[in-house]
């Protein structure tokens, strides 16, 4: 058979073979059929020895041509089949992504503790140490060293749980002021806060016999009421939002002089007046003042040399404000439906 006829036959056969092939695996078989030991292409050059130099040249050229042609065609076919097969595989692996995930159930953090940590972070960033003090305190630390001697009327406002004549459940975290000043043997400057639980004989919608307070104390050589205001302005912005403003009103606490009541603009209405702020635009947030010289003195700090400020606020109130919790008792009821709501990261207030 003439070489040209053979090549022609190969082309015809290839056309037919290609039509029949459905998978990339069959392309391998096809390659054997054409390029194997007994393949059609291999056969073209099988009788080369018998040919003249001229013929050899011609046969070589033609068989190379057809070889390239067949290779290209089979390869293209293989490629497209492989792609098709991959797509089929991917399609077959398609899943219902809407089915439930295999995640761990997330627990929650109590709003009271969240507020504590926020307060801590803010003051730590301002150089304050967070200290812990006992809840079971002495009358001395809770009252006497805070300039509230026995029989002082200020004790009435804080109905106290006594354990015995000497020990009590602290009615205020201010008790830690006395401890901190006394505990600082070197009498170096103090910057501390103490968040924690306090107890008073009182129970209704706005009072719980156990509640949280945070006390702050700064003692240094040049501390003023203006510094107190500057500090509390930043604190209020951090806790209640950037636009919060702070107002000072004179007040009275036995352990500070001068004493101030600190109001913040109502975060609900922005100061316009609403039921929450009783239409005043302001909400009472903290009690504060310059540390009373008697308190400094009892703590071993010479009031002629040192001044200081102290402040205290209710943590429950802060939590109630931030999360809009209407009743303090919800914080202590521990209803799972309440607790589970606090299961994510808090948004943060920027201070500008």
């Amino acid at each position: 058979m003439d070489i040209n006829e053979k090549i022609k036959n190969i082309r015809v056969s290839l056309e037919e073979d290609i039509k029949k092939i459905a998978s990339s695996r069959e392309c391998q078989e096809l390659k054997v059929k054409y390029f194997g030991k007994k393949g059609f292409i291999t056969e073209l050059t099988g009788n080369m020895k018998e040919l003249s130099v001229e013929e050899k040249k011609e046969v070589g050229r033609l068989s190379n041509e057809i070889k390239n042609e067949v290779t290209t065609k089979i390869s293209a076919l293989e490629e497209s089949l492989k792609e098709k097969e991959l797509n089929e595989k991917l399609e077959s692996e398609r899943i219902d992504i809407s089915l439930p995930s295999k995640k761990l159930k997330r627990g929650s953090r109590h709003p009271f503790q969240r507020i504590i940590e926020d307060v801590e972070d803010f003051f730590v960033s301002m150089g304050y140490d967070v200290v812990d003090g006992p809840e079971l305190e002495t009358d001395e630390n809770c009252f006497q060293r805070l300039n509230v001697p026995l029989g002082h009327p200020a004790r009435d406002a804080q109905d106290t749980f006594y354990i015995d004549p000497e020990y009590l459940l602290r009615t205020q975290t201010s008790s830690v002021q006395a401890r901190t000043m006394q505990g600082n043997k070197e009498k170096t400057p103090i910057r501390m806060i103490c968040p924690g639980k306090v107890y008073r004989r009182d129970d209704d919608a706005t009072h719980s016999h156990q509640f949280g307070q945070v006390e702050g104390l700064v003692v240094d050589k040049d501390v003023s009421l203006a510094n107190l205001k500057g500090t509390l302005e930043l604190f209020a912005k951090k806790m209640l939002g950037e636009n919060t403003k702070v107002r000072f009103r004179p007040s009275f606490f036995p352990f500070t002089e001068p004493s101030v009541e600190v109001d913040v603009t109502c975060f609900k209405c922005g100061g316009k007046g609403c039921p929450l702020c009783k239409q005043t635009g302001w909400i009472e947030l903290l009690g504060a003042g310059m540390v009373h010289p008697n308190v400094l003195e009892m703590g071993g700090y010479d009031p002629k040399v040192w001044t200081g400020f102290a402040f205290g606020t209710g943590l429950d109130r802060l939590a109630m404000f931030r999360y809009e919790i209407p009743d303090i008792r919800y914080l202590y009821t521990n209803d799972i439906r309440f607790l589970e709501q606090f299961d994510r990261k808090d948004e943060e207030n920027e201070i500008k």
């Binding site: 079971l136 749980f161 020990y167 459940l169 009275f252 589970e340």
Partner: protein, 788 residues
Amino acid sequence: MKLSRKFVSDYVSIDVDTKALADDMTSIGNEYDSCEKLIPTSKLIIGEVVECTDHPDSDHLHVCKVNIGTEILQIVCGAPNVRKGIKVIVAVDGTTLPGGIIKKGVIRGQESNGMLCAISELGLEHKFLTEKDINGIHELPMDAPIGEDAIAFMGLDDEVIDFELTSNRGDLLSILGMAYEIGALYGKEVSDIDLSFKEEKESIEGKFSLDIQTENCPLFLAKKVVGVTIKESPEFIKNRLIASGIRPINNVVDISNYVMLETGQPLHYYDADRLGDKLIVRMANDGEKLTTLDSQERVLSSSDIVIATEKEAVGLAGVMGGLTTEIEEDTKNIIIESAIFHPTCIRKTSKKVLRSEASNRFEKGLDPKRTYMAMMRSCHLLEKYADAKILSGTVEYKNMEIKEKVVSISLDKMNKVLGITLSKEEVLDILKRLQFETTVKGGDFTITVPTRRIDISIPEDIIEEVGRIYGIDKIEGKSLVLPTTPGTVNKTKRYIRNKLADLGLNETLSYALTPEEDGFQFTDAKGIEKVKVLDPMSEDRNTLRYSLIPSLVSIFKYNKARNYKDICIYEIGKSFYKKDEIYHEEERLAVLMTGIYQLGLKKEVVDFYVIKGILEELLESLGYKNRYSIVGTTDIHELHPGQSAKIIVNNTEIGVIGKVHPSIMKESVFVLELNLDLLFSFRVKKMQYKEISKYPSVLKDLAFVVKKNITAEEIHAVIKKAGGKLLKKIEVFDVYEGENVGSDEKSIAFSLTFEDPTRTLNDEEVMVIFNQIIEAVEKKLSAQVRDK
């Protein structure tokens, strides 16, 4: 303190409206609760009933024609006392009364264009109303001018600010004190109080004596007036008492209250003829009885001060007078008492007996100058309004020094504490407004504090005064300079809280005060005592908790009652106990788990191993890996004896873990508790890189069939010992009980990892160790290896 605007205006002029006054007072430290008109109505008009006929269709209504000056209105009125010719208070169409807005209408066919008012309809508190005020319309005097404002005519056109004063400002519990405060606020003068009166020739001296037997009464004045006429007080006195919240009784009693309101000094008037000629002030005897003005018999104790005759107690000093010597309709002669009693004593007694207007003032402390002033003011008013003749002389006991305090302070100190820059002139102006006598030398002020300001004694008090009158809110905030050392906070507890939340537990917050029964539950506490409060609010909250577990159990019960049965909760809180007479307080962590614990899609029913997993995850993540053990126990009565253990770290018990005993709770509830203070006392090693072996490790699995009572831990120990130092890791990966092993047996499968950091192990040497392990376990624990 209810402040009547009209009353205080006797002593200081006020140019602003009452709401502004209240707000301005707040800005200088005097908060108020309410600020209202005494009579909260719109304008009421004086009218005259010019015609009054019975309503044709009613047995009690009247149809009246009422002249209100501008017109004559027809008004239907049901009051029994309405009649032609009387002057009445008319609420015309559109008038606002506390009960609503008056509207024109037709009553049983008769047109009615308003209402004739009873006093009870004007919004006064019930205690101020007489029967007449409630049963009929008010009849104004005949000279009442028709068409004019009825409230103003009656003198009730007053406004009242109810202040909530701070406990140091006892001086503001008086009209005079308020006048000084308002004076300082607006820079106004305070007018003098009229203390004038005539004295009779007859003197009290020698005819009346005092015997003060207690040091709790440092000042006592007595004076006698005779020939008083008991009658109704003049309107202005009654109105001011009402505005101040005190019920008028008769002129004499009213004057004693009126003077107390003006001066802040409580007084007591005795019927002199019933009293006798001597007063004793002493501490009561324990169990002594006294019937007070309110007809109640009080049993007294030795901490109460009494005023007494030789025979009996006649008054509870500073709190309430006695019934036997009270002023009555027929009283003619009066002994006036103006005295000071020790604030703390009065506080104690009034807490026990009654908080009165008087006790409230005594408790805060009094200005002795006012004690004298109140006596004179009493005489002035009794002479003027009760026809009293005042005997000359005063019987006086004084055991105190009446001296003005002198305080010095520098301008520099003032500015430094406030953080502002006031000039000397500004400070002087403020001190002048406060009526504090001041001398200046260089930058130093020397201030003589008026005796009325008992709250002021040190330089800082002056700073506060200057600050508040200057306007404390005008001070601008300044940042503190940041210290060079950063602040510190304990992060470990936070880590634990977050870790447990990440593990799917909800953080709770419960009360530290619990019922006493909860006491030492879930612990095997020995040799310690509970901490109880002396004066609990209820038996449910009388003891400070030792374990936190009972609190979590209560939370479980609460939620279970609301159909929530899958509860995984934790709490960190203080634990309290007493040992060897010393109170202790420790931080504890408690966990409670029950129901389903969700791990991925797998809903794991909580069992011992789930909560043990939580414990181990926590301890290991805190760095206590290989340092803790969990040792079975039967010591905790509230826990299942076969499913409970003690948690040991460094040979110290730091907590318990286990299933709540079925006799306590039928549900499968698991709890654990750790003493965190104790745990943290064991310091963990620094987290540090260890060289990773370059050579591959060899893994081998094997399983033993053992008797059920053999624990995994026991097998683990034998394997470890037999395995030597090439055995790096031993892990349980399967436990089997069932058909393929005997009914008293179980199979436990271990995965063992062998490794040498210096070379590659060959199979033969591993097999030698492996066989040693099998031999050891089989021999020591009567075990049998399963699939080698």
